[in-house]
Amino acid sequence: MSSWYFSHLTLIQGMLISIPLALSVQIALRSGVFSFASIGFYGVGAYGTGILTMRGWPVLPAMLLMIVASGVVAYLMSAPLIRLRGLYLGMVTFAFDLILTVVATNGGELTGGALGLLGVPLGMGTGGLLAAALVAIVLVSQLERRSVGRALVGIKASEELVMSVGVDLKSRKRTVFAISAALGALSGSLYVSTFSTVSPTSAGFTLIITTLTMAVIGGTSSWIGAVIGTVIITWLPTMAATIGEYQHLVYGVVLVLVVMYAPEGVLGALRWLWRRLAPKVRMARPSGGAALAATGPPGGPPPDRGAEAEAEPVPADRVKG
């Protein structure tokens, strides 16, 4: 056991580091916010923590500073951003990730240019990584519970709906944006103080692919999906030794296939299974079956529903918030 542990230590550490990042994307997508910004904040966290610790800061304060700063910056940035319509938000946050690569490459001595930072002091044990991942999981899972959870899922279902029940949509979206950024920064900080290096490409396009794959393959409807996805994507390359340099190609293909055929991811598949099995389980119990019988006339909405949908004068586009 322990020899297995030591020979796979890098993977285990990588997995724990990726969990907050996958969660950061998951909470954004779960609330219907098209944002890739947290992946940029991963870079901010990694470079920031690296630069600070190389200048003598202790690891924890440096990490905390970067996480808090990222959250605050993201909150401020989000004011104009959350007003953007979906595709524009996706575009701008994607651009944000790409531009950080440029900044890192041209940051001179501070960022170490194209090579990036080397020899960042190590400051994270596996225990620390585990603790950080657990904290991230707990915080994110609490976002899915009770009133907060309902409001965030509501945003995805219909922004007009959540506003009409008294949820301050703007502030909720901004908060999600900030939390997502802080999680990204956390992940980046963990990375740099575990592997002691970061380069401009490590927060670039390939990271977007990897992270999206993690979040989407597991299923964005819950933190569990992000964790499942992270586990799968971390261990996939070791299962199939041939993947090697084609890793991101495989991720790309997997991502496309999942989006096409199972947009709810592994979690969605599990839920679907459960739904098929659950009635049988309930039938087995004496009392539960009656509930189903009372359902009104079966079948979907009447055919004119599409036409009505058009008639309503509050399309998502013109909604103010």
């Binding site: 009409s164 029940v165 949820v167 949509l169 359902t295 909405p301 103010k320």
Partner: protein, 275 residues
């Protein structure tokens, strides 16, 4: 039942010093179409108003404007005497306004009960995000209260048997009932209903009609949009009729629908003549 008993004894319909809702010269342009054009109307507390009109006459637009989901091009709207034109939709909701949508808006991931609970979240939990997020011990008792309110509302709509179902597995009419339940869970003072009975059969409609009357007697002010004119005549205290964005009639329902203008609006164009 909590809903009914909690409200009626202490709160008889307040004497209508200030109208619950006051729409003044409201106009809305949607992509060149004048969806509303100089509409003025008042809604007094504790009464049930009908808003009728043929398809495309601007009924939903007016409800959207009142709930602030849509900006007026000109004019103003007052709720309880207060101008709401600078308020956000969520602030208007917090003033005690709840609504249903013409196109059902339910969260497919959640059960019927959870969908209904969304309506009460704001008034029970308040707006502090951090508390709701990070203080499970604080939210526990509130969650129970929200659940009780949602269950009471579901009870009123006879939906308790379906509480654990995912809403998309239900028929359209039942989904509409869930929407109404969600609005009731908010325990609103002003309730806007956009075609709540579309897709329902006669019996179900009558049930909803009775429910609205009971709500009225509990002091809830309501604005009801319906294509079922018979239902409007049966239950409404007052009827407003829109046509092409103009208010063409206002008055007691029975008299209102006989006015030539209204007859023309409905029959003259051969739309929904049978209603």
């Amino acid at each position: 039942m909590t809903h009914a008993t909690a409200r009626t004894p202490e709160k008889p319909a307040p004497a209508a010093a200030v109208p619950s809702l006051d729409v003044r010269d409201a106009a809305v342009n949607l992509g060149g179409v004048k969806a509303l054009d100089g509409v003025s109307l008042t809604v007094e507390s504790g009464r049930l108003y009908g808003l009728a009109g043929p398809n495309g006459s601007g009924k939903s637009t007016l409800l959207a404007a009142i709930s602030r989901l849509l900006d007026l091009t000109s004019g103003s709207i007052l709720v309880g005497g207060e101008d709401i034109m600078r308020r956000s939709p969520f602030q208007v909701a917090r003033m005690g306004l709840a609504r249903t949508f013409q196109t059902v808006r339910l969260m497919p991931q959640f059960s019927v009960l959870e969908n209904a609970m969304l309506g009460a979240d704001q008034s029970v939990y308040g707006s502090s995000f951090l508390r709701q997020w990070l203080m499970p011990w604080w939210t526990r008792s509130r969650e129970a209260r929200v659940r009780a309110r949602a269950e009471a509302a579901l009870e009123r709509l006879h939906l308790m048997d379906l509480r654990d179902q995912p809403p998309l597995s239900l028929s359209y009419g039942v989904q509409r009932k869930v929407e109404i339940a969600r609005a009731l869970t908010a325990e609103p003072r002003l309730l806007l209903l956009d075609e709540p009975t579309a897709g329902m059969n006669r019996t179900e409609r009558d049930e909803i009609g009775e429910l609205l009357l009971r709500l009225r007697n509990e002091g809830v002010t309501q604005v009801l949009v319906e294509h079922d004119l018979k239902m409007m005549v049966d239950i409404c205290d007052h009827l407003y009729v829109l046509d092409s964005g103009h208010l063409i009639a206002s008055g007691r329902p029975t008299e209102c629908i006989r006015e030539p203008k209204v007859v023309e609006a409905y029959l003259g164009r051969g739309r929904r003549a049978a209603a």
